[in-house]
């Protein structure tokens, strides 16, 4: 009797877990006149769930706005959401399902580069375009010609922090603490090191951890002994919050520098006051006064009652870039859609003007934000080589209506990274 009830409990639990996985299946996208089905996959319940949820919010908000404005060429957009729990093998599985079973027109996702790298081959094999909103590791788009992104890449992001450390913080000695198993973190470490040494700096200590580690005092003690001016920690918020916390408990005063992987409301819960005075590079700032950004921030806040982080903004932009490309391609044929995405030029996104280069990456400036009292405060903007800063903000107000692509995309061609519309281009304050 007792064993029967235990067995029942077990069976019920199993049923629950299957029930969760079955949501969202059993649909079929029809190519032709019907609705346009887009797949989104991300980490909704795993260790980096804040990334997946923010991006999903941004994607869904953009899809709703597009539908309210009449859809894409009169066709409604429907987004099928899949949870990969932040695990690369599950990311590959859910993308297989999206492209083979749901027959989506395109896939949006992932945030973490390791997950995008695992899933991208599935989209590439099926010849379905995939746009990663925010995977910054350069290898992601090298998987194939159907893989794109709407964010900058790590060589630039690592470069930005190295320049900021050397030029703005006048740092000579840097220590690095990176996530050994994350492609994102290993990439940033490499690019930061190269750039920081190129600027005359010195890497005085290098330590690593793996995702899920809970105690960083050993690594931080060794770093403290090397007496660095700054500590570069290109990890994800879950560990970084704790690293910041433990660094203060060890009496470390050097500021921690990070990347967009820090951007999560959860960072503040984990790190609290210990985070004050640290800096990160990111895709946009909610403080940006540009009307397009302020409208996005206000709309997002009224919809989700939280400020949009950069991942939400990139999710929003990835959906809008895709909608724009579908309009220009005149449909959802995989190859035509791929070519249309590749031709995206000067698309006015909330994270800046988006142009896709020949490597299917977006060329955009980065912002440096200072962490202060549970807020990311805008500090400076750093532009890629060859891109001059505009007199005002890069983004112009969003184009009304997605039915008219010309309004959103200027047919500008020529230079690989044409400057956004500028009045009097002043020299960048912090760029070489």
């Amino acid at each position: 009797m007792k064993r029967t009830s235990l067995a029942l409990l077990l069976i019920t639990t199993l049923c629950f877990s299957f029930a969760c996985e079955r949501r969202g299946s059993g649909t079929n996208a029809t190519d032709g006149g019907g609705e346009i089905v887009i797949g989104y996959y991300g980490d909704l319940t795993g260790r980096t769930a804040s990334f997946g949820v923010s991006t999903k919010n941004g994607v869904e908000m953009a899809a709703d706005e597009i539908n309210k404005a009449g859809g894409i060429m009169g066709r409604k957009v429907r987004v099928i959401v899949e949870d990969d729990q932040g695990e690369p093998n599950k990311a590959a599985t859910v993308v297989s399902k999206l492209v083979n079973q749901d027959k989506v027109a395109a896939v949006l996702g992932e945030v973490a580069s390791s997950n995008s790298l695992a899933a991208a081959p599935k989209a590439q094999e099926a010849k379905i375009p995939m746009i990663s909103p925010s995977s910054t590791n350069p290898n992601v788009t090298q998987v194939g010609d159907f893989i794109f992104r709407v964010c900058f890449i790590d060589p630039f992001q690592g470069d930005v922090m190295a320049k900021f450390a050397a030029n703005n913080l006048k740092a000579k000695r840097a220590a690095i603490l990176y996530d050994f198993n994350a492609d994102y973190s290993r990439g940033l470490r490499e690019f930061f090191t190269r750039s920081f040494k190129g600027l005359g700096g010195q890497i005085v200590a290098e330590q690593s951890y793996t995702q899920g580690d809970r105690d960083f005092s050993g690594q931080l003690t060794q770093i403290r002994a090397a007496n660095p001016d700054v500590i570069y920690v290109p990890g994800y918020y879950g560990e970084v919050g704790v690293i910041s916390n433990q660094s203060k408990q060890l009496g470390i005063k050097a500021p921690l520098l990070g990347g967009d992987g820090w951007d999560s409301p959860q960072l503040w819960e984990l790190g609290g006051a210990s985070l004050n005075g640290n800096y990160i590079s990111n895709h946009y700032s909610v403080d940006d006064p540009s009307p397009a950004i302020q409208k996005f921030v206000a709309d997002y806040k009224s919809r989700y009652s939280i400020l949009p982080d950069a991942l939400a903004a990139l999710g929003y932009d990835s959906m809008r870039v895709l909608a724009d490309a579908i309009t220009r391609a005149g449909g959802t044929d995989g190859t035509k859609l791929r070519d249309a995405i590749a031709q995206t030029k000067n698309f006015a996104g909330v994270t800046g003007s988006i142009s896709i280069d020949k490597d299917r990456n977006a060329v955009k400036p980065a912002v440096v934000l200072k962490l202060q009292d549970s807020k990311f405060v805008y500090d400076t903007t750093i532009y890629p080589e060859g891109m001059t800063p505009p007199a005002s903000s890069a983004a112009s107000p969003p184009a009304p209506g997605y039915a008219s692509p010309a309004a959103a995309t200027s047919p500008a061609t020529g230079a690989p990274a044409p400057p956004p519309p500028t009045k009097a281009a002043s020299p960048s304050p912090s760029n070489r």
Binding site: T13, T45, G46, D215, S217, T221, Q246, K248, L250, Q266
Partner: protein
């Protein structure tokens, strides 16, 4: 020198937590010859119990050492009840079968607890409130650069107090005498009029409460808690129990401290002998293999053959 001392403080700090968990492994093994693999998950349940007590009682606002003690006691009581429920409904029914059945049951219970938590609250890490304010406070300087934070001091003091309390219960009270009697021979103890079921239940309760204390204390140093936090920590605590001599209470404490110190020293100095800091998790298991090969009874375990 100050760096070495700092690494030792860090290591013993982690080790104290391993020791608290290892005590539960070793006590249950001593009495039932059962490796309770769900014990690491009880540690996790303890941390979450503390988290939800703090959340619903609104303790996070008026955070202080006093509220930490209240949260700690609450979490220990909840975990003790969870431990007794596990024993009553999972282990007791199969106790009469072979030891392998109980072991498989333990693994099943462990997976069940983890997956119930993931299904209910998700695997996203939660932030445990900082009761001691050590996030914003500079640590106490010892000498040179070596320093100790408020959280570390509290972890050391509370775990030492709990270990002394356990020692007192086991060796100075009637219940403790009964526990030792049951661990010598369950059937003889029964013949002496000892309510063995009650004593086994109590052993699970005490072990679980200690693990919960470990969960809440570690969250003061590392506020990141999630439903899978007990897996690796639990396994390392198990290694600590084996290293000290499974079934031996001082051995569990010694083993815990040694594993903690070994781990941190590998991070700090491993690269001098060609071991990267990413091998920290492997170290505990390398120690397990060495102990089983060279001294299966552990550092303090008795080598007396067990009569069956």
């Amino acid at each position: 020198m100050d760096t070495f001392v700092q690494q030792l403080i860090n290591g013993l700090n982690v080790g104290a937590i391993y020791a608290l968990i290892a005590l539960g492994y070793t006590m249950v093994y001593g009495i039932l010859r059962l490796i309770n693999f769900a014990h690491g998950d009880v540690y996790m349940v303890g941390a979450f119990a503390g988290f939800y007590i703090a959340l619903y009682a609104g303790f996070a606002a008026g955070a202080s050492l006093g509220t930490l003690i209240l949260v700690l006691l609450g979490a220990m009581i909840i975990a003790a009840v969870v431990g007794m429920i596990i024993e009553r409904f999972a282990y007791r029914p199969v106790r009469k079968y072979s030891r392998m059945t109980t072991l498989i049951m333990a693994i099943g219970v462990s997976l069940l607890i983890e997956n119930l938590f993931v299904a209910q609250i998700g695997a996203t890490p939660r932030a445990f409130p900082d009761f001691l304010g050590s996030q914003s406070q500079a640590p106490y300087r010892l000498f040179g650069n070596a320093a100790i934070s408020k959280a570390q001091i509290v972890i050391f003091l509370v775990s030492i107090a709990l270990m002394l309390l356990l020692q007192w219960i086991v060796f100075k009270t009637k219940v403790g005498t009964a526990m030792r009697a049951v661990s010598f021979n369950l059937n003889s103890a029964k013949l002496m009029g000892i309510n063995t079921d009650a004593i086994i239940s109590l052993t699970f309760a005490i072990g679980s409460a200690l693990a919960a204390a470990g969960g809440v204390l570690t969250a003061q140093y590392n506020p990141n808690i999630d439903p899978l936090m007990g897996i690796l920590t639990g396994l390392k605590a198990f290694v600590a129990a084996v290293l000290g001599g499974i079934g031996n209470i001082p051995g569990a404490v010694l083993g815990g401290l040694l594993i903690g110190a070994a781990e941190t020293l590998v991070v700090g100095y491993g690269h001098h002998i060609g071991i990267a800091s990413t091998y920290r998790d492997a170290v505990a298991f390398a120690i397990l293999i060495l102990v089983l090969l060279l001294r299966p009874s552990g550092l303090l375990g008795s080598t007396v053959q067990e009569k069956v």
